[in-house]
């Protein structure tokens, strides 16, 4: 019974994984260097962990097959065994080695995904402010001086720095095929580094629960070649209306809106919760500098690091 069940599980697992090969799962189908790094880490961890599971399963099946009461003499009395120093050292030491290996992988790749993607270091990053409000996304392109709602156009082969913050509850900005997510919060600006290698259309969404309209808080991501991207920008500049404070405040009201485009950005009249160098807005602007230095060193370091590029 037990072994049948174990086999079923294994078959079931293989079957589902194989379906995955047909039609790759989103996070294992990266279209940019950050997502590619993360997909590699995931695969490394899956294989390492598969080894651990295998060892446990083999021992497990051996134990319950061999030592079941029905297979033994009636008068068999199991012995008293305290334990074994050697065995116990083995199953402490090997997991420590595995964890050490995975730790190295983690620290290395975490630093990687927290910086400008490899091979893109020589380029000036495209900075896009992505802010969430219930239940939509506002994207400001200060360089191009345009703003979009609920959709993104990105050029290929250029590092992109998202500056994330929120006009409401904590949201999480996530484009699975370009890279992992980060929180957008009301009192600080987070930086997310991404880049796209392959033109195409991708799904982006808020993945942190933010109230009743959360499920539909998605946005489309269009990755274009550099020339097409420039063409798109020019087109927007020629056709879109400027964003006004009035219009923006209307957009901020809770609810769902479709996609729209504006010239100018809301950063002019409603700046992100940061000074020029990011940090925290704790309400009184004159204390801001001190606050960010005193209590949030990692963030400051982090944003300084970004500005070195």
């Amino acid at each position: 019974m037990k072994i049948k069940w174990a086999l079923l599980t294994i078959l079931f697992t293989i079957a589902t994984v194989l379906t995955g090969c047909d039609n790759p799962l989103m996070v294992l189908d990266p279209k940019g260097p950050v997502a590619a790094t993360q997909a590699d880490v995931i695969m490394i961890s899956i294989w390492t962990m598969a080894f651990v599971v295998l060892v446990v399963m083999v021992l497990y099946i051996f134990m319950i097959m061999k030592y079941r009461a029905s297979k033994q003499r009636d008068d068999y009395e199991p012995p008293h065994i305290e334990g074994s120093k050697v065995l116990e050292i083995i199953w402490v030491a090997i997991p420590i080695l595995i964890v050490a290996f995975l730790s190295v992988v983690t620290v290395k790749t975490t630093n990687e995904v927290e910086a400008t993607p490899k091979g893109y270091g020589d380029q000036e990053p495209l900075i896009i402010y992505a802010s969430s409000s219930n239940w939509k996304w506002h994207f400001s392109y200060p360089e191009e001086d345009i703003e979009t709602v609920n959709y993104l156009f990105l050029p290929t082969n250029r590092p992109i720095e998202f500056k994330l913050y929120s006009f409401g509850p904590i949201s999480s900005f996530w484009i699975p095929q370009l890279g992992g997510q980060k929180y957008a919060m009301s009192d600080m600006v987070n930086t997310l580094h991404l880049a796209a290698d392959v033109p195409g259309e991708y799904m982006g969404r808020n993945s942190n629960f933010s109230g009743s309209g959360f499920a539909q808080q998605t946005f489309n991501v269009n990755v274009l070649s550099a020339e097409e991207y420039d063409k798109w920008v020019d087109e927007i500049k020629a056709t879109a209306k400027p964003i006004t404070e009035e219009k923006f405040n209307e957009l901020l009201k809770p609810g769902h809106v479709g996609q729209s485009t504006y010239t100018g950005t809301h950063l002019e009249f409603s700046p992100a919760p940061e000074g020029e160098n990011a940090g925290h807005d704790h309400g009184s602007s004159d204390k801001e500098e001190n606050d960010s230095k005193d209590s949030h060193e990692e963030h400051s370091e982090h944003s300084n690091m970004n500005h070195d590029h």
Binding site: F12, T13, T16, N23, L25, M26, V27, A35, I42, S45, I46, M49, V53, V56, M63, I64, Y67, R68, A69, E77, P78, H80, E82, G83, E88, W91, P95, V99, L102, S103, V105, T106, V107, T109, T110, E112, V113, E114, G168, I170, S172, K182, Y183, M185, D187, T191, R205, S207, N208, F209, S210, G211, S212, G213, F214, A215, H282, E298, H299, H302
Partner: protein
């Protein structure tokens, strides 16, 4: 009237009105039934005022089972809603309330009380004690938990349930974004229940440290008792953080302070940190006792002593320490930077090492054993591979760079159900079946038990395994719906089918209780499983004083030694036994707490002030009360002992 507006449910639906009627009718039926059978006196004398750890334990378990079904119905509703794309069974708001209450109910009002119930029944018996250190405080703990749970449960018919997730992240849970009283219920009901838990923690640390039978030094305690001791240390260190966090939350919501708001210096990150500084150790509060339960059961039914006793203890201590230094892995994506994330990744993955030690020790407990596949053993054996899957996906999640992709997805949901269900739910079901004969004097049907085991185990895997895949395919958690183009439909449907299997399994447990109560043989010995620890050394049913003579202990398995090697457990002669008196005060004080909580939720200050005075009055009453308990005379003990011996 302003008040009546506030009592109204903000998002009423036919299901909620139906529940109101059902709750009303059930209460009328219960009251009428008790009155008809004239059981009020019995109920008051034997249960509501009891300070007996065994009865308190049984009440904990009953309440936990009730909550299991309450949370289970929530779960079924969620899986039904997401079974097909663009389903309209629940609207967004209703779904949010359902998953919020599912999380809170399952963790705080099902898993913990179930564990605390088993611990109440078993721990004093395992250490050869006659009661817990503070019996009346124990009653206070139970009734506070119970009233907290009831207060939380009426939320969906009076005023609306909390809807900000069981983590209640700010600013979403603030008045700005969560206008109904739902989050007030969250803050206050959990606070009341939490005080009860904290008191339990203190009570059991003292019990285990001070009341062990002669000869039972720390390294001779049964593994379950060890796990309970460590768990209670975690409770005592972690729960004060929750108390403070909820107090700040209450002030934010009721009194206009701004600890966690978006403006005026409030910090939403402060909430996340406080919540998880409690919340992560909380995970181990419900998992360590499960490890203890499995250790007892696996060694009993492998007919062998536990392999690597010392390393089992050391690994539990290591896990409990590590549990306090990993909380930030719940929000790697909050922007800590690579350094902090790296450190928390390593501490988190480190937990895998002591956990692995335990897995291998259990496997080697089977080695050279003589395995009997009883229902408790089946749960324990199924736990090993399933929990291993949950554990290894935990290591995957611990890797910060990869976690940016898993965070907030169904992959995470799958992971924590893969640790919590085999970890805690299987354990309490195993423990419940295992200790049932000690509690009630008959055994549950093995046959029905096996049916429910297979439904639960297979149903569980069918429900949660697909979530690993949809998670990697980008399905975020807590989405009440999704479009067909995402392709999440078929696997979500599969989850729903699995959930039905689980539901059948749990229904079979209820049927098993019914069937066995009616038909099971009452003619069982004191030790029907041929077990190894002291709780089986006394009579079934257990007399009020547990042991007529306090046992003497000389090894980790004194009872087994007494059966096999002729070790003498009960030396000495019967003497009069001091026992505490029953008291109605814990129940009455907790009822006042309920009123206080309700008044606080709805900002009814006058009632809240009167209730506060009432609570203090109960405490003052206790301070001046002269109650030194009573003695059970030698004759009475001998009479009871003869009767119990004669019954067998």
């Amino acid at each position: 009237m302003d008040y009546f507006d506030r009592f109204a449910v903000p998002h009423p639906s036919p299901a909620i009105y139906a529940s109101m009627v059902a709750i009303g009718l059930t209460m009328i039926a219960v009251v009428a039934g008790i009155t008809y059978f004239k059981k009020w006196g019995y109920l008051w004398r034997e249960w509501l005022t009891t300070v007996d750890h065994k009865r308190i334990g049984i009440m904990y378990i009953l309440a936990a089972l009730l909550m299991l079904f309450r949370g289970g119905v929530d779960a079924l509703m969620m899986r039904a809603q997401t079974a097909i794309p663009d389903n309209g069974l629940l609207d967004g708001q209703h779904y949010n309330e359902v998953f919020t209450t599912h999380g809170v109910v399952m963790i705080l009002f099902m898993a913990m009380p179930f564990i605390i119930g088993l611990m109440n029944i078993v721990t004093p018996l395992q250490i050869g004690a006659r009661d817990v250190a503070f019996p009346r405080l124990n009653a206070v703990s139970f009734w506070l938990f119970f009233m907290g749970a009831m207060l939380f449960n009426i939320s969906f018919v009076v005023g609306g349930s909390p809807d900000a997730g069981w983590t209640s992240y700010f600013p979403l849970a603030s008045n700005d974004f969560s206008e109904s009283v739902g989050s007030n219920y969250y803050a206050i009901a959990i606070q009341i229940a939490g005080i009860g838990t904290l008191l339990t923690g203190i009570n059991f640390i003292v019990t285990i440290l001070k009341m062990r039978a002669p000869g039972m030094n720390l390294m001779k305690m049964p593994m379950f008792t060890w796990s309970i001791l460590i768990t209670n240390f975690i409770i005592v260190f972690a729960f004060p953080v929750l108390t403070v966090a909820l107090a700040l939350m209450t002030m934010d919501r009721l009194f206009g302070t701004q600890f966690f708001t978006m403006a005026n210096g409030g910090s939403d990150m402060l909430w996340a940190n406080l919540f998880w500084v409690w919340g992560h150790p909380e995970v181990y509060i419900v998992i360590l006792p499960a490890f203890g339960i499995y250790s007892e059961i696996i060694s009993t039914f492998a007919r062998r002593n536990l392999y690597g006793y010392n390393s089992m203890v050391i690994s539990m201590v290591a896990i409990s320490t590590l549990s306090f230094i990993v909380w930030a892995h719940h929000f790697y994506t909050m922007g800590h930077g690579a350094m902090v994330n790296g450190i928390f990744s390593i501490t988190t993955m480190a937990i895998a090492v002591p956990t692995g030690v335990k897995i291998f020790n259990w496997l080697f407990t089977l080695w050279k054993g003589k395995i009997v596949f009883t229902v408790p053993m089946l749960y324990s054996l199924a736990f090993i591979p399933i929990f291993t899957l949950g554990g290894v996906t935990g290591v995957m999640l611990a890797m910060a760079s990869a976690d940016y992709q898993y965070h907030n997805t169904m992959f995470l949901v799958a992971h924590f159900h893969y640790v919590l269900i085999p970890g805690t739910v299987f354990a309490v079901l195993a423990g419940f079946t295992y200790w049932w004969p000690k509690m009630f004097g008959f055994m549950l049907s093995e046959k029905i038990g096996k049916w429910s085991f297979w439904f639960i185990t297979i149903g569980f895997n069918v429900t949660f395994f697909p979530m690993f895949i949809t998670g990697l395919d980008g399905q975020a958690r807590r989405m009440y719906t999704y479009s067909e183009s995402t392709g999440y439909g078929p696997l979500n449907m599969l989850s729903f089918v699995g959930a039905i299997g689980l539901a059948i399994g749990f229904a079979l447990i209820v049927y098993n209780i019914y069937w066995s109560t009616r038909y099971a043989s009452r003619n069982i010995s004191n030790d029907p499983w041929d077990a190894r620890s002291l709780e089986w050394a006394t009579h079934t049913p257990i007399p009020e004083y547990n042991f007529a003579i306090v046992p003497t202990v000389d090894s980790t398995e004194a009872f087994w030694d007494s059966k096999k090697k002729g070790f003498k457990l009960f030396g000495g002669k019967v003497e009069k036994i001091h026992m505490p008196n029953n008291s109605g005060v814990p129940f009455i004080m907790s009822c006042i707490f309920f009123v206080w909580g309700f008044a606080m939720v709805f900002s009814m200050w006058i009632i809240a002030i009167i209730a506060t005075i009432g609570i203090f009055a109960c405490m003052i009453h206790r301070s001046f009360e002269k109650d030194h308990g009573r003695y059970i005379s030698v004759e009475e003990i001998e009479e009871t002992e003869n009767k119990l011996r004669g019954a067998k």
